[in-house]
């Protein structure tokens, strides 16, 4: 089975977020980047598990980004992917990324294309569905479980109050949520081998952005906690009504 895993680079979760260029761009100075956890922990690991279970096949990781993304890509190779592709371009929008990967994937006929359910920076959760349209293939989002039998996959999705179970034939796209797999810690041999695995850099295809960012805003800071005497219901009601404006 040929498996493709889309991975992206996101700021470390402890990063202090700030913006530049009139609040239209994320300030990357001094930011520590990691592989998007949904891509790493769930999508990539489930793809590796499938390959191991089948005893054959390949797991390729793909990223759209500049050369300094190679560190994150090699982390994926260290965890166990066989090879990697980097499309050499600045990922300016979901549409742009989807277009680049779709163009590359078209020619390669992958059986399953994995993504994380979303990236933890822009939280778009868009690339999968746009790419599915471009590849004319089914897309199952927010999957928590995946089994493959021959050419047919059984997939669980968490839905409000329960689980939805779906069946789909390959080729298809899937975005992985928590539950799909367990994080793998790369071992030293994997880390050493990653340096020798192929990382192919391919040029981007022409694509335009359909949307542009006009402004980012940080959430307003948390307000102070107010203590109210448990006997004083009147004050509580007044505060909820006048200050918090929730009743």
């Amino acid at each position: 089975m040929k498996l493709l895993v889309c991975v992206s680079k996101t700021p470390d979760t402890t990063t202090k977020i700030s913006f530049t260029e009139n609040d239209t761009n994320f300030n990357t100075q001094g930011v520590q980047f990691i592989m998007n956890p949904y891509d790493e922990w769930y999508a990539l690991v489930r793809a590796l598990e499938l390959k191991e279970k089948l005893g054959s096949g390949t797991v390729t990781i793909i990223n759209v980004g500049p050369a300094d993304n190679d560190t994150v890509i090699r982390k994926g190779l260290a965890i166990g992917a066989d090879d990697a592709v980097r499309i050499d371009a600045n990922p300016t929008s979901s549409h742009f990324v989807a277009k680049q990967i779709a163009e590359y994937a078209k020619a390669q006929s992958y059986d399953i294309v994995f993504l994380g359910k979303e990236t933890i920076d822009y939280n778009g959760a868009e690339v999968g569905s746009v790419m599915a349209e471009m590849l004319d293939a089914p897309f199952i989002s927010f999957a928590t479980h995946l089994e493959v039998n021959g050419n047919t996959a059984t997939i669980n999705r968490e839905v409000e109050g329960g689980t939805e179970v779906l069946e789909v034939d390959t080729p298809f796209l899937i975005s992985a949520a928590k539950g799909m797999a367990e994080q793998r810690i790369p071992n030293m041999r994997g880390i050493m081998m990653a340096k020798r695995k192929p990382l192919n850099v391919v040029p981007a295809v022409d694509s335009s952005d359909l949307v542009s960012v006009t402004k980012y805003e940080l959430p307003s800071g948390k307000t102070d906690c107010k203590y109210v005497d448990p006997e004083n219901m009147e004050e509580l009601v007044s505060l909820l009504h006048n200050e918090a404006k929730v009743i």
Partner: protein, 603 residues
């Protein structure tokens, strides 16, 4: 439990910027297979293992499943086996081993950083792999191919554990008095008989076998240290059919000790039933020399252990000091105003800075020794000798500073918790108990101090001390290029002069043959020597932090990090270095009060 037990950022600063590990990967074939990006991945992976398999079990291993011998078996906490599996699978058990033996050939510097992560998360549990890899390295260095094949391979694959068996009831600090005996039965095979005590990891219930590296006296061997030989004594030996059979090593009991309860310290009886076989390692009567190789490594490990516990205690205290509110600013007596976090009190800041300066100073000192170790591995001829000499000098310092000062550091950390620090609700009381062992095993502080003053300083006409002076001078010159650091460079320069003077003063007694007088205050000499050496490490760190601030276009987080380094360096120079004055006074004093012939004075 606190959220954090170690700072990866600090480790990387020490590894890459202060101790320049790139020098090894760029210049020496032996390490060229590695690069800094891989080190990043490895240290991050080590942190993940520590966070998942070690830290959450730190308190539980202190309280539950504490090893006991029941029906001849010694139980351990079930998580130990799980941790060891993850540790071995990730490659750490063989990380330092050359590639030809299936290892990773990692620079010792990187290995030490990883160990700091593991030990900070759960120091007791990590002694199992620590001892095993030390014992495996000993076989690698001196054992026959047969011993390597039969024992070492199983140890570096993590299937079998290892120990070091030196101590006996009558032979602790004085190993030359050991009486465990060995009698040759066929070539290289000996019948072993004797009792060893305090053997860390001496028994367990998870590994298929345990390989004891044991010191014993071959019957008829000369008295004293010249008659001690080294043996591999497995818990289970292979019979002719290749099956593992009992080798008459009996776990007589586990000591009920103060800390590090995850690992048992065992009383082991060898050959009670006249059926214990040992296999000679290297040549007869050279055992102590061989064992010193393991012990020197183990002494560095104790330095890692001390710095690591100190680190975990620091981050726990720091978090507590930010969260606990108590009292108000001394200028503010208004009870209507809310209380402030205790981190705002000067005395609490003093304690935190003391912890930080000891922890990060100790870590840097340990890595200085790691660098010397790696250099001694890759250099040749005169340069190799220089690196080895320097490592020899640093080893007792690395054993003593992080342990003695670590106790002080953890004690101050506990103080920050107020009364809560004395309860089991917070981890500081456990850390204080765990830390206490570090000044005792692998040679007490007393023994290390006599080693420093009596041997290391004087060896080869003071060659090792000369190397230290040269290196400190280099740092002083570099620091002098920054106005802000000149003052500290000058203080260190003065202290070095003083140190030389004191050393000459004491050496005078040795030359006159007054050995007892020479060594009487060795412990205080050690304390002073350590303060100066760690001041050197701080000036190094401060200088590099300064350079980074001026040249590296740092992010706001980096600016805070480097400024914190410089601030802590200043703290060390203003609060710790002055302690040397009292020690100097005593070391130059002529009144001797500790050499009383008549011990009745101590009533």
């Amino acid at each position: 439990m606190a959220n954090k037990f170690i700072s990866l950022k600090n480790l990387k600063f020490l590894l890459y910027d202060v101790h320049n590990v790139a020098q090894f990967t760029e210049n020496y074939d032996y390490y060229k297979m590695h690069d800094l990006e891989s080190f990043d991945f490895m240290l991050e992976a080590a942190l993940q293992i520590a966070e998942k398999e070690l830290y959450p079990f730190y308190q539980d291993m202190d309280r539950n499943h504490v090893p006991e011998v029941v029906d001849g078996k010694t139980n351990t906490h079930p998580q130990i086996a799980k941790f060891l599996k993850a540790y071995t699978e990730s490659g750490w058990m063989s990380s330092h081993v050359p590639e030809k033996y299936g290892g990773m050939q990692l620079p010792g510097l990187v290995n030490l950083c990883a160990e700091m992560i593991f030990y900070a998360a759960n120091n007791g549990a990590c002694l199992f792999p620590g001892l095993t890899s030390g014992a495996a390295r000993l076989i690698m260095a001196f054992g026959s191919d047969k011993l390597k094949k039969e024992y070492m391979e199983k140890m570096i694959s993590g299937e079998w554990m290892g120990t070091m068996c030196l101590t006996e009831a009558g032979a602790g600090s004085s190993l030359s008095d050991m009486v465990t005996s060995a009698e040759e039965t066929s070539e290289g095979v000996y019948k072993i008989e004797g009792q060893k005590i305090f053997i860390s990891g001496g028994d367990n219930d998870f590994s298929e076998n345990i390989v004891h590296l044991l010191l014993a006296r071959i019957k008829g061997a000369p008295a004293g240290t010249k008659g001690i030989s080294l043996f591999v004594v497995p818990k289970f030996r292979k019979n002719e059919a290749g099956e593992l059979v009992d080798n008459d090593v009996i776990p007589a009991g586990a000591y009920h000790k103060m800390g590090q309860k995850a690992i048992p310290a065992m009383h082991l009886a060898f050959g009670d039933n006249n059926n214990c076989e040992g296999y000679l390692v290297g040549e007869a009567n050279k055992g102590l020399k061989y064992m010193f190789k393991m012990m020197n490594g183990a002494r560095i490990e104790v330095g890692v252990l001390g710095s690591a516990i100190s680190s975990a205690a620091y981050y726990a205290s720091l978090q507590y000091a930010k969260e606990r509110t108590q009292g108000r600013d001394v200028n503010n007596k208004n009870p209507e105003e809310p209380q402030v976090p205790i981190i705002e009190h000067a005395d609490v800041q003093r304690m935190l800075l003391l912890q930080k300066s000891i922890t990060e100073g100790a870590m840097s000192l340990v890595l200085e020794a790691g660098r010397a170790h790696d250099l001694s591995h890759v250099l040749e001829g005169e340069e190799k000798k220089r690196a080895s000499l320097f490592l020899d000098l640093l080893t007792p310092l690395v054993k003593v500073y992080p342990s003695e000062e670590g106790i002080r550091s953890v004690s101050n950390g506990l103080q920050i918790f107020g009364g809560y620090g004395y309860t089991e609700d917070f981890p500081l009381e456990q850390m204080a108990r765990d830390m206490r062992i570090t000044t005792l095993y692998e040679g007490t502080t007393g023994i290390q101090s006599m080693d420093l003053l009596g041997r290391k300083i004087l060896m080869e006409n003071g060659a090792a001390a000369k190397i230290l002076f040269e290196k400190v001078t280099e740092t002083i010159e570099l620091a002098n290029t920054h106005d802000e650091l000149k003052k500290y460079a000058a203080i260190l320069g003065n202290e070095m002069q003083e140190l030389q003077g004191i050393t000459m003063h004491l050496a005078g007694f040795a030359m006159k043959g007054e050995l007892k007088r020479f060594l009487a205050d060795a412990n205080l000499f050690m304390e002073y020597f350590c303060i100066i050496t760690v001041a050197w490490q701080w000036l190094k760190q401060g200088t590099i932090a300064k350079q980074k601030l001026l040249t590296a276009n740092p992010s706001p987080e980096d600016v805070t990090f480097y400024e914190s380094k410089i601030h802590t360096m200043k703290f060390f120079f203003h609060y710790e270095v002055p302690r040397g004055a009292g020690l100097k006074t005593r070391l130059m004093d002529t009144e001797m009060l500790t050499m009383c012939k008549d011990t009745a004075i101590l009533t």
